[in-house]
Subunit: 180 residues, 2 copies
Amino acid sequence: MSGGMSPSEARSWAAMILEREGIALTEQERGAIEIADFGLSDLDRTGLEIVVYVNTDRYCAKELILFPRQTCPEHRHPPVGADPGKEETFRCRRGLVWLYVEGDPTPDIQARVPAGSEDHYTVFHEITLLPGDQYTIPPNTLHWFQAADEGAIVSEFSSTSRDEFDIFTDPRIVRVPKAE
Amino acid sequence: MSGGMSPSEARSWAAMILEREGIALTEQERGAIEIADFGLSDLDRTGLEIVVYVNTDRYCAKELILFPRQTCPEHRHPPVGADPGKEETFRCRRGLVWLYVEGDPTPDIQARVPAGSEDHYTVFHEITLLPGDQYTIPPNTLHWFQAADEGAIVSEFSSTSRDEFDIFTDPRIVRVPKAE
């Protein structure tokens, strides 16, 4: 583990942000906030804090919390059996998030690719999401996102989540919640 | 039309409530808030204000606004073709909502069945939802809900919405947005 935030510190911070912003969680949900460090142990820069509200075999809803300049690294949701792959809608609730998807690369993107990981970021079509803005990502489409300096809260509405099948561009990444 | 709220008044009120509660909408979404009066022209008592964030062929997400003591009347989401019927999760964000589903009737329920419509309410298993609480309703299950005195905001996460197929217990109800 590097000198950054621990998962339990990240969980407390995420819970505090949601409370401050008036997004109510139950006590159980607060304790169960998922801290995804993607196996990189660099949570301050590459990570995501997740509240899973519901994930049935038909749909899923989550709240995503991003700390200032925190990045969810590039990945896609491939077909799994009869499922064509997860389709998902990101709706910004607080702060500002830059989302990058396949398509014409935007010159001079506003996010900062995490230093040392440049090889693992390949799509640069920029979409800026402010509160009230949303964007739907088709299945099996590469994407990554980063919060601006004030952090962000993003609601994710989607088909069923099967995170264990996600394919990341960075071969070092393991999308498994880290044991504390 | 009775002496109650007009649809455009309801739309303005719902937009004001969301803004006050920090739930950001785009200008276009504000103007498109759906006012469901269920054909009863009694919006103050029986009605629902709806923001549809997304409704794909796989999932749907909405924000529901209920004015004080406003009721969404009893209905179910039947199978439609290959779809077993809409499955939906209600998550309370603000206020208090009483949800009634099939099951053991709760004695002395807290909601008030709209006067004159008593014959059209048949399920009375009460679930109280405060901010942070949620409940998932299986397909094809009768349910209705009412906000308490302060009104409520409820996030709905679900499989695809096909409102035109909903089956209401009250045969007078037509689930079609009313032209203004």
